[in-house]
């Protein structure tokens, strides 16, 4: 039945839809990284002394660190001195309205289908778009401002709300955390900042769209979201990058702080350029995402990872307060030569803390997909509960799925459940669908959507639709 395996391989040859570059004049640093670069970066952004100090401490720590090797990834060595650490569109800022944004940049966003016009209000989405390193425009800030909600670029937050940034920056992901987070702490360029005041329910989904445009620039954004007591916010993050032959580095840090009784939902659709079908090019995506949940707070991470040549990310929750809740819902797809090592850490410190992990890994082509998750229940975390479910779906016979669940339980009253399954989209399933009139491609999409259902239903409606579309694009050609 070799013919049928070939058919499965064929769907694996989709072209990257978002692979266009934009010609904008950019201010870009010469490649290389040293203390001077960090100082220049800080100076160009007119940063206060304390922030420069933070960066320098991180940079010095980073110099003594080495890249982690515990992951299940084959990675070409990155030359950190060959990268440029800053790139910004030249005609810069102090933009008052959308009309002032560089038309080329706007065109890019239009191609991406991001609604940067005010009409998006109707859709209930406020967008903070990050184009390379500088946040280009933030919409609806005024509307949100009336509720006391702060939603702006990270740089602006440093200027306008230094006390909040100073208090929380590095409070969840310390600058010494890991090689990539530490690098980010030294050279982060921009990102988003959100603050929801006490008791306020953010009335719209907040959304950031990241896009890497310039060549040889690593993108290091930094996101910080603080939900004060009893506040609620749902945040969406979408990512794309143009096609380049060389690998581009992306090392972001996201910190979430959910104070007592607050809820933060953080949803990601990651569609960075995955490289071509021979594994050339593509984004190296090393991301540190972590949230801290105080008493009765809840943090939900939902991610749909279809892009990047390499994905290394473990959105995690520190369940510090009693009765706090952490959730992680993930769909990770690898096709062609993509590799993903992703999962979560749920750290139960408080009493009666609860966590749920639902991970769906889909492997096609020669892709390698690893779920890596840790559940830690501390000595004092009485009555803690965890439920984990890790399912893998294989398409074709040259891909791989791996699962590494770690459990560390120090309180005997804890209840921890783990379920795992591995299945294969069989030729018999596809034939069954075809015999009923459904094409191979539709059959694969249907089976994959069914497999991911538990995760998709956690996504906000319009995102769920996009996720489903992306998934079918990224698996196009894996069955024919």
């Amino acid at each position: 039945m070799s013919t049928s395996t070939d058919t499965i391989e064929q769907l694996a040859n989709a072209e990257y839809k978002y692979g266009f570059t934009t010609d904008v004049e950019a201010d870009t640093f010469e490649p290389g990284l040293n203390e001077d670069v960090v100082r220049r970066l800080s100076a160009i952004k007119h940063e206060p002394e304390w922030l420069l100090e933070f960066r320098l401490k991180a940079f010095r720590a980073w110099q003594k660190m080495t890249e982690p090797t515990w992951h299940n990834l084959k990675i070409e060595k990155t030359d950190y001195q060959a990268l440029s650490y800053y790139s910004a569109p030249k005609k810069k800022p102090a933009l008052k309205s959308m009309d002032e944004v560089d038309p080329e940049v706007r065109k890019t966003f239009e191609k991406l289908g991001i609604p940067l016009i005010e009409q998006q209000f109707l859709a209930g989405v406020a967008v903070d778009a990050v184009f390379d390193s500088v946040s280009v425009a933030t919409t609806f800030r005024e509307k949100l401002g009336q509720l006391g909600i702060i939603f702006c670029s990270f740089s602006e937050a440093v200027k306008d709300h230094p006390e909040l940034v100073k208090q929380y920056l590095g409070s969840v992901v310390p600058y010494t955390d890991n090689f990539y987070a530490t690098l980010n702490s030294a050279v982060f360029s921009d990102g988003s900042f959100v603050y929801i005041p006490k008791g306020v329910r953010c009335p719209m989904e907040l959304s950031t769209y990241f896009r890497i445009n310039a060549k040889n620039t690593g993108q290091f954004e930094r996101t910080l979201i603080v939900a004060d007591e009893g506040a609620y916010v749902s945040y969406l993050e979408g990512c794309t990058a143009p096609m380049r032959d060389e690998n581009q580095l992306h090392a972001a840090v996201v910190e979430l702080v959910a104070l007592d009784g607050a809820t933060i939902k953080y949803s990601t659709i990651q569609n960075w350029y995955p490289g071509d079908k021979n594994g050339k090019g593509g984004i190296y995506n090393f991301v540190t995402k972590r949230g801290i949940a105080h008493a009765n707070a809840k943090i939900t991470w939902t991610q749909v990872e279809t892009g990047s040549a390499i994905t290394w990310k473990y959105p995690s929750c520190i369940l510090q307060g009693d009765n706090s809740i952490g959730e992680f819902y993930s769909v990770a797809t690898v096709n062609n030569y993509q590799q993903a090592d992703t999962g979560t850490k749920m750290i139960h410190l408080g009493k009666n803390t609860r966590s749920t992990i639902v991970s769906k890994g889909i492997s096609a082509g020669r892709g390698q997909n690893t779920y890596r998750g840790a559940v830690k229940i501390a000595k004092n975390a009485k009555g803690a509960r965890n439920y984990s479910q890790c399912d893998s779906l294989l398409i074709g016979d040259r891909c791989g799925a791996h699962t590494f669940p770690y459990l560390e339980i120090k309180n005997t009253s804890a209840k921890v459940e783990h379920e795992a399954s591995t299945s294969k989209i069989g030729e018999d399933q596809i034939f069954y669908c075809r015999q009923r009139g459904i094409s191979s491609e539709d059959a694969v999409n249907m089976i994959v959507s069914g497999f991911c259902k538990d995760v998709f239903r956690e996504l906000p409606m319009e995102f769920a639709v996009e996720a489903q579309k992306l998934l079918s694009i990224s698996l196009e050609g894996s069955v024919g």
């Binding site: 399933q429 669908c433 075809r434 249907m446 089976i447 991911c452």
Partner: protein, 243 residues
């Protein structure tokens, strides 16, 4: 004539299974194909539905005047060829009703008909479920997942009722069924007999034919049809065996 098979030769895994099979089927007729294990009964069913594991290396199959072998499996399905599987596969996470809606709309689209919306579709399947005495709860479960053997076979017949094929091929539909389940499935099949619909019933045992009474019985042995007759041939085979 609806289906005309001439000198059909089929290979599976490099083994020649069918060695020149001839069969003609008119609309409204029910043909039973019987024969010992390994004689090629299921190979015939799968070759007709276009299973990629079976290679046709001789002969021709004409369906309603068109070359069936030139069509992809989904095209055959859309043209009205339905196979009730011997071992229906499970498709976890895919809702039974959703699956059937996708199938029905694919067929309708092929015929140039408008696709049914959710409301119209639900009305249709409710009436079909009633016809086959199907438990509606089955519709909201995943395709065949966790179904008993009997439920799976009933689900096949239910799909057939919704898709309304012109040619239905039942591949060992009786295997693994107890007598009660067999009766229910047979009743469903009988309810779907129609003058514009032909059926090919592949079976190893005569007992199914007590409930689905065929117009013709054929004995398949060594990759060819060696005997054909009326329904009484089945009884003779039951008494004397295939030799």
């Amino acid at each position: 004539m609806l289906l005309e098979i001439k000198d059909l030769k089929v290979k599976a895994e490099d083994k020649q299974i069918l060695k020149g099979l001839n069969l003609s089927v008119n609309p409204g007729e029910v043909h039973a194909i019987m024969g010992p294990n390994g004689s090629g009964k299921s190979t015939l069913a799968r070759a007709l539905s276009g299973h990629p594991g079976y290679e046709v290396n001789g002969g021709s199959v004409t369906f309603d005047g068109r070359d069936l072998l030139a069509m992809s499996p989904e095209e055959r399905a859309c043209e009205g060829v339905f196979m009730a599987f011997q071992y229906p596969v499970e498709i976890p996470g895919v809702n039974n009703a959703y699956f059937l809606k996708a199938a029905l709309n694919a067929v309708r689209k092929h015929k140039g008909l408008q696709e049914l919306d959710a409301v119209e579709f639900m009305q249709l399947i409710k009436s079909k479920a009633k016809l086959l005495e199907m438990d509606q709860a089955m519709l909201s479960r995943s395709v065949n997942e966790g179904f008993s053997g009997g439920e799976k076979k009933r689900n096949e017949i239910f799909q057939m009722a919704v898709l309304e094929p012109r040619l239905a091929i039942l591949d060992e539909t009786d295997s693994g069924l107890d007598i009660d389940a067999l009766k229910i499935v047979a009743n469903g099949v009988n309810a779907l007999r129609a003058k514009d619909r032909a059926m090919i019933v592949v079976t190893h045992y005569q007992r199914l034919l007590d409930y689905i009474v065929p117009d013709f019985v054929h004995v398949l042995s060594g990759g060819q049809i060696i005997r054909s007759g009326g329904k009484e041939l089945a009884l003779e085979l039951e008494a004397k065996g295939y030799r």
